[in-house]
């Protein structure tokens, strides 16, 4: 992918997997930013990510065999260490020093496997966004994964305006169409690397997903605070408080809260890996709450997926189609400008080398 056709930001951390996807020595084949990778956990516990292509004849390393922290191609037996260097060629004593495959910086944190697809020298773990609820024992959730046949930015768009809750998720996550008409973002804050939106819906019908685990009260004051960060990371804090009890003034008696993280990692320009968790901080002894929330979210996300994958099909059918801006697009427009500047900067830095 040359600089002229650069479709993604590369010098940033993406989520490559949940840790549970690597249990039992699995060699996970996963394409990220159009690069086929093999990801695995070695015997030492270290997580390794390599190009999923043997440098000899191009066989998939994910069809190979893990040996300690190393991996062996099971076509002609070349063996690679976690840094990607070839360390054994069966029947050949001399190994060319540069023979190997590309390895990618990995950081494992709070059950997430983060990967840096760009210049490895710039991979600073301090740049990984922190979502402390994943490690805080007072929050309980069920991490999950979903695959989208759509560009990741279409999913970012979807989350940039909660009004879609009313129409896409009326019977699952939203609760009523009045959410779109009666509630408006009370604050949209531009961030250097994204945006923050706060939205209140007072005296709202209890949303169906919450009602399943908390049948009363019938009506709530609902607050969502969402943050969207480059390249496609979404954090949301949700508060549901009995209607009229003064949650907006700080009274949280009887309130229930959720924390939601969503990570969108481009697989290709038209497909996305979607990692998410929805956590609660009450009745932690009851595992059914996390399970119910997980199922409700899947139900809701499948509604998004249906809509967004359809949108991708429509966009693919006419490459010249231009979207139309409306006022509610301000957060997503800011997000795309922010992302665009970073991609342009990467592209500019690559130009001299390309020339």
């Amino acid at each position: 992918m040359g600089p002229e056709t650069q479709a993604f930001l590369t010098n940033c951390w993406y989520v490559a997997a949940w840790d549970y996807e690597l249990i039992d020595g699995k060699l996970l084949a996963r394409t990220i930013l159009e690069k086929p990778l093999v990801i695995y956990r070695g015997d030492s516990g270290r997580v390794v990510a390599l190009d999923n292509r043997c440098c000899h004849r191009g066989a998939k390393l994910s069809n190979g065999r893990r040996e300690g922290d190393d991996i062996r191609c099971m076509y002609h037996g070349l063996k690679f260490e976690p840094g990607g260097k070839c360390i054994q060629i069966p029947g050949q004593d001399n190994i060319p020093p540069k023979l190997g495959v590309r390895s990618y910086p990995i950081v494992e944190r709070d059950h997430l496997i983060w990967i840096w697809m760009g210049d490895a020298a710039k991979a600073d773990p301090a740049k990984i966004l922190d979502f402390p609820y994943l490690r805080d024992p007072i929050w309980r959730g069920k991490p999950d994964y979903m695959h989208y046949d759509a560009n990741y930015l279409l999913i970012v768009d979807n989350l940039s305006d909660f009004a879609h809750l009313a129409f896409v998720h009326t019977k699952t996550l939203g609760g009523s169409e009045e959410y779109a008409y009666k509630s408006k973002p009370t604050a949209i804050e531009r961030l250097e690397d994204g945006f923050r939106v706060e939205r209140w819906h007072m005296n709202a019908p209890t949303p169906p997903y919450h009602k399943k685990v908390s049948p009363k009260p019938e009506r709530v004051d609902r607050r969502n605070i969402a943050r969207m960060y480059v390249p496609g990371i979404f954090f949301m804090e949700t508060l549901l408080s009995p209607a009229g009890t003064g949650a907006e003034k700080g009274n949280l008696e009887g309130a229930k809260q959720y924390r939601n993280c969503q990570f969108f990692t481009p697989e290709t320009r038209r497909s996305t890996h979607f990692f998410w968790d929805y956590l609660h901080d009450y009745d932690l002894q009851d595992p059914n709450i996390a399970l119910s929330l997980n199922r409700s979210m899947i139900e809701g996300f499948l509604e998004d997926k249906f809509l967004i994958e359809g949108q991708q099909e429509v966009l693919d059918a006419d490459p010249n189609f231009k979207m139309n801006a409306i006022v509610a697009d301000a957060p997503l427009a800011h997000f795309r400008r922010t992302l665009g500047k970073l991609i342009d900067a990467e592209r500019a830095a690559l130009q001299p080398a390309a020339a």
Partner: protein, 130 residues
């Protein structure tokens, strides 16, 4: 003069590899002047504040707009979205952040949002004309 300024307005901000379907953006001239933006497009006013100057751009007119600002100015200026047909003047002043003191610079834009050429719009315009 108005025509000349209108001609330098650039239509862009679209057709990138990573965002091929982005709405078109009309970028106005930094010095002000006439600019036309269609419904569904964005208007970019490239007035940027000098960092550390203690000044910032503020939209002072009009209170009711045919284009709505997407938010306060950022390092690229201001972005607007058309919401009604019509013509109006946007006036921006480069004022001290503290709110005190005179404007150092004023820039005005004569903005036109043309009606959409739908059959209904044409009929409505025809009846209005009569």
């Amino acid at each position: 003069m108005r025509l000349a300024l209108a001609l330098v307005v650039a239509l862009g901000g679209c057709s990138t590899v990573w965002d091929p379907h982005a709405p078109s953006t009309v970028t106005a001239h930094e010095e002000g002047g006439a600019v036309t933006v269609k419904h569904g497009n964005r208007l970019h006013v490239p007035l940027t504040s000098e960092a550390g100057s203690g000044y910032e751009w503020r939209l002072v007119e009009p209170p009711v707009r045919i284009v709505v600002a997407e938010g306060p100015p950022d390092e690229e200026g201001l972005y607007f979205t058309p919401v009604r047909d019509g013509e109006e003047q946007l006036r921006l002043e480069y004022r001290p952040v503290t709110g005190d003191g005179p404007a150092q610079r004023t820039v005005s834009y004569d903005v036109t949002v043309p009606p959409e050429r739908t059959l209904f719009g044409r009929l409505r315009a025809a009846f209005r004309w009569r």
